[in-house]
């Protein structure tokens, strides 16, 4: 502390309001009292990661992308690493944005690695395929098999699970997978085609403007109609024999494509409550990235899972 007129007196500090967390409903006692603990096993795995970019297309179109992944309250409290991940990549011809969100299965000690493999390798495999085939003809099984194979290889070569079976590997590292392929330039109609493939409970939505704005799910809503809630989910490296077909939709200016982990999807539910209302208002247009991170990390009682959102807005 220096006295008035001391050597710091001349330094003028710009007034900036302190960053304030976003509360939706009751934030819960944990939000105010949890002391964040590091995960000493993985000191270089960050708590919060975020991206902001405007992706230009060859025909003059543009997509505005924001992404944030935030370690959840529960992982902060128990000193466990963030297990969600996101990734994005543009095809060589600039025509397609490939985006991914993955949620590492909590039971696995290295599931955050699985989530990173899913988002990074998954995006790379999709971009390679898009070099020589149309987005509507993507071989999704090859992408999922490729990612699943890499997770198994990682377990065998890096984690010492030498002769491990698939269930052994999945017990150590596994992650859900959600991929979206979005046209950067609009078609003549003004729409941009979107192709989405999902395995597990990471979810894709189109946020449509209106009064009120609507959250349009591109898959069945988790636990909808179930008597008691379940946390079971499908995850790579396991690829089901019967794969749900990819969902194809389109994105028009004013809409947003929103990919999210269940840390956001669970409190969002069907999108018609206060979480849906708040986020729809917040993301009618792309906010600045710092605000976006706070919005993704909104506080709501008992919703203490990792949070990840990757959102894409067509630029008019």
């Amino acid at each position: 502390m220096s006295a008035p007129g001391g050597r710091h007196a001349a330094v003028e500090r710009p007034e900036r309001p302190p960053g304030r967390p976003v509360d939706i409903g009751d934030p819960g006692r944990a939000a105010a009292t949890v002391v964040p603990r590091p995960d000493g096993r993985f000191p270089f795995h960050n708590d919060i990661v975020a991206d902001a970019a405007r992706v230009p297309g060859p025909a003059g179109g543009e997509l505005h992308l924001l992404a944030a992944s935030v370690r959840g309250l529960s992982h902060l409290y128990y000193g466990k690493v963030r297990q969600d991940a996101f990734g994005h990549l543009v095809t060589r011809d600039g025509r397609w944005l490939v985006a991914a969100v993955a949620d590492g299965v909590s039971a696995g000690s290295h599931s955050h690695v699985a989530a990173e493999i899913v988002t990074r390798l998954g995006c790379r495999l999709l971009v390679e395929q898009l070099d020589d085939r149309p987005a509507a003809e993507l071989d999704w099984r090859a992408v999922l098999d490729g990612v699943g194979g890499e997770i198994v290889r990682h377990a065998r070569q890096r984690l010492g699970l030498v002769d491990s079976t698939l269930p052994d590997v999945a017990g150590r590292l596994a992650a859900t997978a959600l991929f979206a392929v979005v046209a950067v330039d609009p078609a003549e109609t003004g729409d941009r085609p979107v192709h989405v493939m999902s395995l597990g409970d990471t979810s894709a939505w189109v946020l449509r403007p209106g009064a009120p704005p609507a959250w349009d799910p591109l898959q069945a809503v988790k636990n909808d109609g179930s008597v008691v809630a379940s946390a079971a989910t499908m995850a790579l490296p396991g690829v089901p024999v019967e794969l749900a077909p990819p969902v194809t939709t389109s994105l028009t200016p004013g809409e947003a494509l929103v990919l999210m982990s269940d840390g956001v999807g669970d409190p969002l539910g069907g999108g018609t409550g206060e979480v849906g209302e708040y986020l729809a208002g917040a993301w009618r247009e792309p906010p600045d990235p710092f605000t976006f991170i706070a919005q993704v990390g909104f506080r709501r009682r008992t919703y203490d899972d990792d949070r990840t959102v990757l959102a894409v807005w067509p630029v008019q």
């Binding site: 409903g25 009751d26 819960g28 006692r29 944990a30 009292t33 949890v34 309250l73 529960s74 992982h75 409290y77 128990y78 466990k80 299965v105 909590s106 039971a107 696995g108 809503v221 636990n223 909808d224 109609g225 008597v227 008691v228 809630a229 379940s230 946390a231 079971a232 669970d266 409190p267 969002l268 539910g269 069907g270 999108g271 018609t272 409550g273 206060e274 979480v275 849906g276 709501r300 009682r301 008992t302 919703y303 203490d304």
Partner: protein, 245 residues
């Protein structure tokens, strides 16, 4: 579907208040709830999610504390009193009714509800007919996922046996008895003092509740029982298929 206000983990303690529980045992039983409330207050992650209910039974069964947030400052923890025989049937029938009521109410209030867990503490053999309490237990726990028949909200049942509770009877109350989510029972070692065992059961109950918060952070969606090698002294843990007698 709209959205949920919060996701909750319901726990029930169902406790035998037959006359044989009088004295030291009763004191130990009365100490369970305050100790649990203190433990929950220390863990904000689980404190936000846990709902706890207390039911006692003798010749009949009664709800002493409806499912509630133990950290709610308006809650008064009830005192237990002994009052008669040992009707397991009355306890199971009341729990069937109570769980259905509680889960439906929570869902109507827009909560997401995980499968309830029920700790069942008894110090003696049931005084009602074998057939009677077994059929009441079946109604509480039977559910066929394929056909959707039975009780979809069935609880996970963790029996705690002290004093003269019959280990074989207690073993038949473990639910689910097998599968990936199989439960276990905890029984007093022969020669141990019942009051000491009840205090050990309280420890097990509290660590199970707290572990379930950690469990949710590490993948499981419900109750996480303590490892057999981490039990307090004087009690042991067994699965439904263990031939330990």
């Amino acid at each position: 579907m709209g959205e949920d206000r919060a996701k909750l983990l319901p726990f029930y303690l169902v406790i035998d208040m037959s006359y044989s529980m009088e004295g030291e045992n009763l004191q130990a039983a009365n100490d369970i709830m305050p100790a649990l409330a203190d433990a929950i207050a220390e863990n904000p992650i689980i404190g936000d999610k846990v709902r706890f209910g207390l039911v006692d039974f003798a010749d009949d069964a009664q709800v002493l504390l409806p499912l509630c947030d133990l950290l709610d400052p308006d809650i008064t923890l009830p005192g237990l009193m002994t009052r008669g025989g040992t009707s397991y049937a009355a306890a199971f029938r009341l729990m069937r009714k109570q769980i259905e009521h509680d889960v439906l109410q929570l869902k109507a209030d827009n909560y997401s509800v995980h499968r309830p867990a029920m700790f069942f503490l008894s110090d003696g053999a049931p005084t009602d007919h074998d057939h009677d309490w077994r059929s009441a237990f079946h109604e509480l726990t039977h559910y066929d996922r394929q056909t959707g028949t039975g009780f979809a909200m069935y609880p996970n049942v963790i029996p705690f046996g002290v004093a003269n509770a019959d280990p074989r009877t207690m073993q038949s109350l473990i639910h689910p008895a097998d599968g990936v989510k199989q439960m276990r029972m905890f029984v007093m070692d022969e020669g141990n003092k019942p009051a000491v065992a009840i205090r050990a059961m309280a420890e097990i109950l509290i660590s199970s509740v707290l572990n379930s918060g950690m469990g949710m952070a590490t993948g499981s969606s419900g109750i996480a029982l303590p490892d057999p090698d981490q039990l307090p002294g004087g009690v042991s843990s067994h699965t439904a298929d263990e031939d330990f007698l």
